[in-house]
Subunit: 461 residues, 2 copies
């Protein structure tokens, strides 16, 4: 937890954006797996953490703009709870540590929320079914309308504030990324021909847990790197294959790291792998070179798309005029996703609030295949934290679909592409802070060049 | 997954319990942590797994009793889903592997469910908020009434069927427990003075994940074993302390193991620790000796309570007539929980269906402190799988409360108890199958005697 003053300052800054009304913050509950009491690890709502700091289930907070009062509501432990879960401070004691003196029980929360004019209560979009049930119970809003009725001024104010990371947040993110680097190094120094993916994923997971935090998102640890969010870990890994790891640490304060690395299952990359790897690396470094305040991230993404298309052209996979090809989305056969996304308390920061507000700031988002998956399009400002993660993927189903439909056939040499249909995928990913003049890579650097990756892999043998 | 015939047979057995109506099975969805798409690992509903075998989110199944038809509904992957999550068989292909030929989309599910008379549709108690929203959406049942309207005949039929484990389920449970043993041995051979609890928990977690499954429940790995469900892992562990581990493996098929062990952070137990350990062990072995068909598990629990009370009396912690003391719940100062619970696809098997039906079979459950936490009270039958897990705990808050209120003061020597208030807790836990004539410990045996535990600990040094 940060200091009491941090939370008071954050709330005061938010309060200044409103003239009237009531802001409702719904904390997360425990989530049952196969029955209510067999729970996943608890994850607090990030906005609740940001303004109210308490990392406990079953809480609600209110900011009453007109009288300037902040409230936290929750039920204290009974002796039965203490026997099962140990002693803990009272709600009032915990609330004091974040500068909130007005507290109450859930029953008092119900009275309080009922005392407001319903239209005055503003809330953020619900992303868990439990939020929808609570909005129905306390505000009479049905699940079907709960998204549409979320407050855009509230979303925008939170988005603009959380997007600019403070010094203490940057320290925490540096730490999150440094542990993330250790997770990747552990994999590079451990993976061996004949293991299965689960063994490598388990080692990476262990590093996160033993550091006292958790994984920031489900680990991708796969020889099928072409599947972007592949959480299957059942394959045996073999010499000659590429291993793609996308994993990040979440600190006990809730801040995320998010890195990807791609390394050979054997000691060294093959020549074919090196050729593709060099293209992603050129796109990656080119993107980092562009980062500075005032640049639109959509332009960074388009530059990455051109670099990938050009690189693939030099290897005979693509053809034709690069600008036209990228305009038509032809690069998306190999790079169907975005160059990066915002990061902070959430690995995709504030994805729950809506990309159109947080990542696009009202700029219309493309509906083109590939570009529609870019989560960040807006102008960069100092204090933004984001990922850079270009990749090249050979996705057999997508190749077949495009070839069958003749999609972008003027720009793609399908025969050449088909020779690589079992190649897999390559991605590197780093986390960066936008500074006043450019950018800075967060945390401890991770092996990224072919030479550095092979040097780490040598330690596994 | 088991064979197609297994699922067909299970459904046919269930069907025989009903003359009419429609059984609705709601599969689980992905659960978002801090936004919808950042998910915890997926856990299918156990009853859905048991009858329909498919381990995928977003599915519904229906058994129409009158016409004998079974249905599975879900939406097939689009090309966008394939790019992000890889290829997968169609719903129809997957359903065929479990003997269901009638399939449809979610939109067709909506039509189907609307085609039934509402009162004909029977469902099981919802334990996730998503289930409540679905019951509201599809059956018009509000969250507030969704528990009360669950079908008791459906609960009872599922409970009686799933309680008797088949040969193939017993094989799977043997396997789950054997990996669970490896998780405990890894901790015993790893833990060292000066580590923190999280490092030990992470090692245990790694064993589960690297075996291709997951943890069956949140790991308890603590020097504060007196807190029964303690998931905090932030303490540094020190020579002289006891370390209590309660952890279990969940196989990829979804079956659980659940064991507890208690070992010294140093090489050996202290004499004081050995004295208490011997009492829990006597209670433990005495309970196992009683297990056989026809025995009521409540009687096993009461025998454990007497053994613990007597053992503590010999050490001067308790006094008076044992039968009277146990009748009054005096043992619950040290043993405020149950001797064991059913286990299967869920670590507390079918806790979501309600203990009163599954574990008590209609026998009234006690409301006395301690006894009310016994999850299993009924007569045992061949094929039941359960845990045995007596323990002795020194819970400072509970000691203070009882002393202050004079609770059971005729049976407790509070001065003596207070000398041990920082002792912690001891629990051993094993998983057993009720056979035709008695019981059998499942899986690979885990060190349990003082000598065996110390022999494992010696490997850490």
């Amino acid at each position: 937890m940060f200091s009491k003053q941090t939370y008071i300052n954050r709330r005061n800054q938010l309060r200044l954006q409103f003239k009237s009304g009531v802001l409702l913050f719904i904390g997360n509950d425990e989530s049952g797996m196969n029955y209510e009491d067999n729970t996943y690890h608890f994850r607090q709502d990030s906005t609740f953490l940001y303004y109210f700091g308490l990392n406990k289930p079953g809480l609600y907070a209110i900011m009453d703009i007109e009288n300037g009062n902040d409230y936290i509501f929750g039920d204290d432990f009974t002796i039965d709870s203490i026997v099962w879960m140990g002693s803990q401070p009272t709600i009032h004691e915990m609330a004091s540590t974040v500068g909130v003196e007005k507290t109450g029980t859930i029953s008092q929360f119900t009275e309080k929320i009922n005392s407001f004019h319903k239209g005055a209560v503003q809330y953020l979009p619900p992303y868990r079914p439990e939020h929808q049930i609570k909005l129905m119970r306390f505000l009479g809003i049905s699940p079907a309308e709960s998204h549409a009725k979320a407050s855009i001024p509230f979303i925008t104010a939170v988005g603009e504030q959380r997007n600019i990371k403070s010094e203490e947040e940057i320290d925490e993110l540096d730490y999150a990324v440094s542990v993330t680097t250790e997770m990747h190094l552990a994999a590079m120094r451990f993976a061996q021909h004949g293991m299965n993916e689960a063994q490598v994923a388990a080692k990476v997971h262990e590093v996160a847990l033993s550091s006292g935090g958790n994984i920031a998102f489900p680990i991708i640890a796969t020889i099928n790197g072409q599947t972007l969010h592949n959480h299957y870990h059942g394959n045996t890994i073999k010499e000659g294959q590429l291993f793609l790891l996308d994993a990040g640490y979440e600190t006990p304060k809730g801040y995320a790291g998010d890195m990807s690395s791609t390394f050979p299952v054997g000691k060294t990359f093959t020549e074919k792998q090196k050729e593709i790897y060099r293209i992603t690396l050129a796109a990656h470094n080119g993107a980092i070179d562009m980062l500075k305040p005032g640049v639109h991230f959509r332009d960074v993404h388009m530059q990455v798309a051109r670099t990938i298309f050009d690189g693939m052209k030099a290897l005979g996979f693509t053809k034709g005029n690069t600008d036209d090809a990228v305009e038509n989305g032809a690069h998306a056969l190999f790079f169907p996703c975005g160059t990066g996304h915002l990061m902070g308390l959430d690995v995709h920061d504030m994805e729950n609030l809506g990309e159109q507000y947080v990542g696009y700031c009202g700029i219309p988002k493309s509906k083109q295949f590939g570009l529609k998956s870019l989560r960040l399009g807006r102008e960069l400002k100092p204090g933004f934290v984001l990922t850079i993660e270009p990749g090249i993927y050979f996705i057999p189903e997508l190749i077949d679909l495009w070839q069958q439909n003749g999609t972008n056939k003027d720009y793609i040499n399908f025969d050449r592409v088909n020779e690589y249909r079992n190649f897999g995928g390559i991605r590197n990913e780093e986390d960066l802070l936008i500074t006043e003049t450019g950018s800075r890579i967060l945390g401890k650097p991770l092996a990224k060049s072919i030479e550095d990756v092979e040097a780490e892999r040598a330690k596994a043998f």
